[in-house]
Amino acid sequence: MNDRIVFHIDVNSAYLSWEAAHNLQMGSNIDLRNVPSIVGGDQEKRHGIVLAKSIPAKKYGIKTGESVYSALEKCPELIVISPHYDIYMKASKAMVDFLYDYSPLIQRYSIDEVFLDYTNGNLPYMEAAMKIKEGIKKELGFTVNIGIGPNKLLAKMASDFTKPDKIHTLFYDEIEKKMWPLPVEDLFMIGYRTKKKLNSRGIFTIGELAHLDRDYIYSWLKKPGLLIWEYANGIENSDVKISKSKVKSIGNSTTLPFDVSTKEEAMKVLLGISEMVGMRLRELNIKAEVISVSLKTSEFFSYSHQKKLNIPTSSTNTIYKTALALFEEMWDNSSLRCFSISLSSLVYDDFIQLSFFENFNEKELILDKSIDNIRKKFGQSSVIRSAFLYSGIDPIIGGVVAEENYPMMSSYL
């Protein structure tokens, strides 16, 4: 157990590096990594947030996730590039293919992060890491950080120490020196809210968290508390998962180019998202039991409601009806900019348990299936609901890359 060697390979400012490398290949004479530049969403459509930044842009105090508008205020000569997900998919796939030369045990954790089990590798681990890092730089034209540790958590923490183009190790005997002095929010799984909670009781570093009494943290924060306490002590023992992990929830959201203030428009948006999530569910042959809707107002205040159904469903109509009911329950007539629907408690649809109290219409299943087949054959816009005609709202809303399976981040290691 103790002699596992896990690598965590993390692309340095992934989207930006990939854009820069691609542009150089296509004959551009500036390397975006050396000038203040960002990859950001379309401002016209109000998707304008910073997705990735170059290191010179970081010096202006630009942060990932802030709006493109405020980034431009900080640095007027900033170069803004729109994202090209097809390039990122290609680059990410090339990196994974490259890594298979070193180990067959590879977990694609997200589009730019990979875990690799090097326990039974041929080379000394440091030599292998050097070869991987230099190989990717030479062959694929971008830099990575590699963290080496005895488990996935410590490997991930190590790859985050200093960037770019570096290799760090974090073994059990190094935890005290390398991890414990870090601020507590640097620990995996600790977000803004947990940080506030911990800070309120005087816990500011990972070391302080690690030294707490196990029973004390359990009585205070319950199970998630134990998890972060274990993480702070470097305890984590999940395998590098070769196969794709099971889907836990499916959701789509959209930020509209305009604010929605009438119920008719909101209904159409919800219907459009329902179409998308319904299609995705049916594609994976699963059904969902819990439907949740969340809204963001034009003042960036968000709220959500959810409902558990008696019969798991994958029908667009049922999803839409439930979403609409939830929407009516919580909407206070304020103008809305962002809608999302998310489905969870997923079950495989080999069989379903029916209920006395809810209608179940088998014809709907058949209808959805036929519509999916038509769309698959003739394109997504071949059959649309007439409600969307001349409405200016897309009949099917959401999705980063429609066809390909885009590996998203998850909070499970």
Partner: protein, 87 residues
């Protein structure tokens, strides 16, 4: 050599080895006329995988308006497009 990166029309020979062999290409010049350049010699070729995008780079020699010149061509495998990369 300067970077040009201009799409070109190409006649190439695809044989049973790994790489297509460029023979002749037509490119539009600055004064909007087309010129045809014959590739006399391929000095070297190299497969590039920058950001996962596969391109074959050819360093070639040929005669352009009476002068022997060296230039580089690129073939993008995913799109099957040829470019005059540098001259």
């Amino acid at each position: 050599m300067k970077i040009i990166m201009k799409p070109i029309e190409m006649i190439a020979w695809f044989n049973n080895t790994n790489y297509p062999i460029p023979l002749r290409f037509r490119v539009e010049t600055e004064n909007k006329t087309n010129i045809v350049i014959k590739i006399d010699k391929i000095v070297f070729k190299e497969m590039q995988k920058i950001a996962g995008n596969r391109m074959i780079v050819y360093r070639c020699e040929g005669i352009i308006s009476g002068l022997q010149r060296t230039f580089e061509l690129k073939y993008e495998i995913d799109t099957c497009k040829w470019y005059l990369f540098k001259m």
